[in-house]
């Protein structure tokens, strides 16, 4: 394990499909929290219904893949409505509690024995992504620049993911620079003020929840394609918290925050993991087992977030003045 290998691995992760998928989900979370002020602690729930939307449609019901995608999106919309309609008229904490609970309940339901005929229970679903890779127009073999390279299939998925990201960012930019976006940001600042000016805050919040949730669902669908094998336990609450950490790192309420955050975070995490692994395998740190990297990684993320909040609360690309405007 030399430095170059570690670095190129880190770069591959930072621009790879998984990072792109996290970017998609973070774009949705940014819509919710960054722009609208909605506390969604269950973005992983949207990812779960998105992933299973594809997997179940194709593997269980034999539908074509494109219909699987439509099912994913429809499931995300339904989940957003189910979460939003009862809670968005109430104080903001109700949504927070509901999202975290519903995401976890969904995971338990999808893995339950009674759901097995449809979702595969704890075994999940496999082989539903062939149509996607059959459509790969890229030449076979591995492609890349220098040491950073990807297999043809990986690159194909990456390409699609980043194209989705680009489309998502373009939509976000259009939306947030429109009167609609102004109302949304107004709601984040003070919902009552917005209502007193004749705007139906509830409908806007619901639209935001649905739209951001669809990005979560899309991220889930891409996870399904990436892994070609999904199980419910990949959708643990940690995923949501990683997303939050990434979004805070990048900068909430900015266009580029949800892109920068996951990319940097995946880079750092891989760098950390690989360095640790390298050191463990060469025996530089004899007291350290490779298996310690998981907990250490969590500790690192925690320390990183604390430093971030102390020294750069606005995130990497946020505006400090705006962030601190309400701090007296």
């Amino acid at each position: 394990m030399d430095t170059m290998t570690i670095l190129s691995l880190s770069v591959e992760t930072a621009i790879g499909p998984v990072a792109a998928i996290y970017v998609l989900a973070a774009i949705g979370l940014n819509m919710h929290f960054g722009y609208t002020g909605l506390l969604n602690f269950g973005q992983v729930g949207f990812m779960l219904v998105g992933a299973y939307g594809v997997a179940v449609s194709v593997a269980t019901f034999g539908l074509p893949l494109w219909m699987g995608f439509l099912v994913s999106l429809a499931c995300s919309v339904v989940l957003a409505l189910v979460l939003g309609i009862p809670t968005l008229r109430l104080r903001s904490d109700y949504l927070a509690i509901s999202t975290i609970a519903v995401a976890e309940v969904l995971r338990l339901v999808y893995r339950a024995e009674f759901a097995r005929p449809v979702t595969g229970g704890v075994y999940g679903r496999q082989s539903f992504a062939d149509a996607f890779y059959d459509a790969n127009p890229l030449p076979e073999g591995s492609l890349g620049v220098g040491r950073v390279d990807f297999s043809s299939d990986e690159l194909w998925l990456m390409l699609v993911c980043w194209l989705l990201v680009a489309a998502g960012l373009a939509m976000m930019a259009l939306l947030m620079n429109s009167p609609w976006g102004r109302v949304i940001k107004g709601i984040r600042e003070d919902e009552d003020a917005v209502r007193s000016l004749g705007k139906d805050a509830f409908t806007y919040k619901l639209q935001s929840l649905v739209f951001g949730g669809v990005f979560g669902g899309l991220a889930g669908a891409m996870i399904a394609l990436n892994q070609q094998n999904i199980t419910p336990d990949q959708f643990m609450p940690q995923v949501t918290f990683y997303l939050w950490a990434m979004l805070l790192l990048g900068g909430v309420g900015t266009i580029w925050g949800p892109v920068i955050g996951p990319v940097i975070m995946w880079f750092m995490l891989t760098l950390f993991d690989e360095t640790l692994r390298g050191m463990a395998s060469t025996g530089v740190l004899p007291f350290l087992a490779t298996s310690d990297s998981g907990p250490l990684r969590h500790a690192l993320v925690g320390v990183g977030l604390m430093l971030l909040i102390v020294y750069r609360p606005q995130g990497l690309v946020g505006n400090r003045k705006e962030m601190l405007v309400n701090v007296k």
């Binding site: 939509m171 429109s178 609609w180 003070d190 000016l197 705007k199 739209f211 705006e322 405007v325």
Partner: protein, 295 residues
């Protein structure tokens, strides 16, 4: 007593309240707002219990009363920001009790808040633009079609700048609202409410914290609004201001309306002096003296 009237006060010849008896719950000749039996209690405390109240169109009506009298709660109820335990009220002949706050605002009754609600991380101009009614780009799908709303946006911007200039905030248009002083936020909130093109504005302590140098011009704006036909209902504590610009005064204490009348009637009203003026304020002590010399 009309000799000490400020420029905005009605001339003797144009009493906007002509034909209205100065008594609690009196009928108005052209009421824009009519309310009956509004009640709201918090636990054991009856915050509002108003039997009948009418507000005359195109007048300035002051709502006064000691702290805790229920003025802000009444505002909240009337504008759909709180739910009444009982009561019916209509605005421009249309029932608006149980109507959601944003719908009440769309009917043309727009309120401001005692604790200002500037949208702090939006710029001053964005605060104004947000309030413009009927924007095509405000719809989710409409937002994507820039060409649909750029014209409307430009027109709104022009109107916003005119209003900001009136309130001397035009130089601050690109500052975030959170950087304004408390008084400037009050002004912004009032200017913003006017962007909605309301037929009635309800201002909850609009002068509180406003730079005294600006108060006079603020009063002129309020009278100008009235002269353009807008109805103004406002809560205020400064007796000089109230007596100076109000066409009509409604006095609340402990949730009830205890008196109504022209400024002159209120000055000499014993209930008011007992419940409010004499007890809690120094200035109104003058009111008590004037009562002795009274009409």
């Amino acid at each position: 007593m009309s000799s000490d009237a400020t420029p905005g006060a009605p001339e003797a010849g144009q009493d906007r309240m002509a034909g209205t008896a100065p008594e609690t719950g009196s009928a108005k000749t052209d009421p824009i707002l009519k309310a009956d039996g509004i009640r709201r209690s918090f636990g054991g405390l009856t915050a509002v219990d108003v039997e009948h109240l009418e507000v005359q169109r195109s007048t300035i009506t002051a709502l006064i009363g000691p702290n805790g009298a229920g003025k802000s709660t009444l505002f909240n109820l009337l504008t759909g920001f709180d739910r009444a335990d009982a009561g019916e009220w209509s605005f421009q002949g249309r029932r608006i009790d149980r109507m959601a706050g944003h719908k009440v605002a769309r009917q043309g009754m727009v309120r401001t808040f005692q604790l200002t609600k500037a949208l702090t991380r939006l710029t001053v101009l964005e605060n104004m633009l947000l309030a413009a009614p009927g924007q095509r780009g405000e719809r989710f799908l409409g937002a994507f079609g820039r060409w649909l709303w750029t014209g409307q946006e430009a027109a709104n911007r022009e109107r916003a700048m005119e209003l900001l200039a009136r309130f001397k905030l035009d130089a601050k248009k690109d500052d975030i609202a959170g950087s304004l002083s408390g008084g400037q936020r009050k002004l912004l909130e009032m200017a913003r409410s006017l962007m909605v093109e309301p037929s009635m504005v309800m201002l909850d302590e609009p002068m509180a914290g406003v730079n005294p140098a600006l108060v006079q011009s603020l009063l002129e704006h309020i009278t100008a609004l009235r002269d353009e036909g807008t109805t103004v209902l406002f809560v205020e504590h400064d007796m000089d201001v109230i007596m100076g610009i109000s066409d009509w005064i409604v006095v609340m204490a402990q949730g009830r309306v205890i008196a109504e009348g022209r400024p002159a009637d209120i000055r000499s009203n014993e209930h008011v002096i007992d419940a409010y003026l004499g007890a809690h304020h120094d200035e109104p002590g003058q009111g008590a003296q004037q009562k002795e010399e009274g009409p």
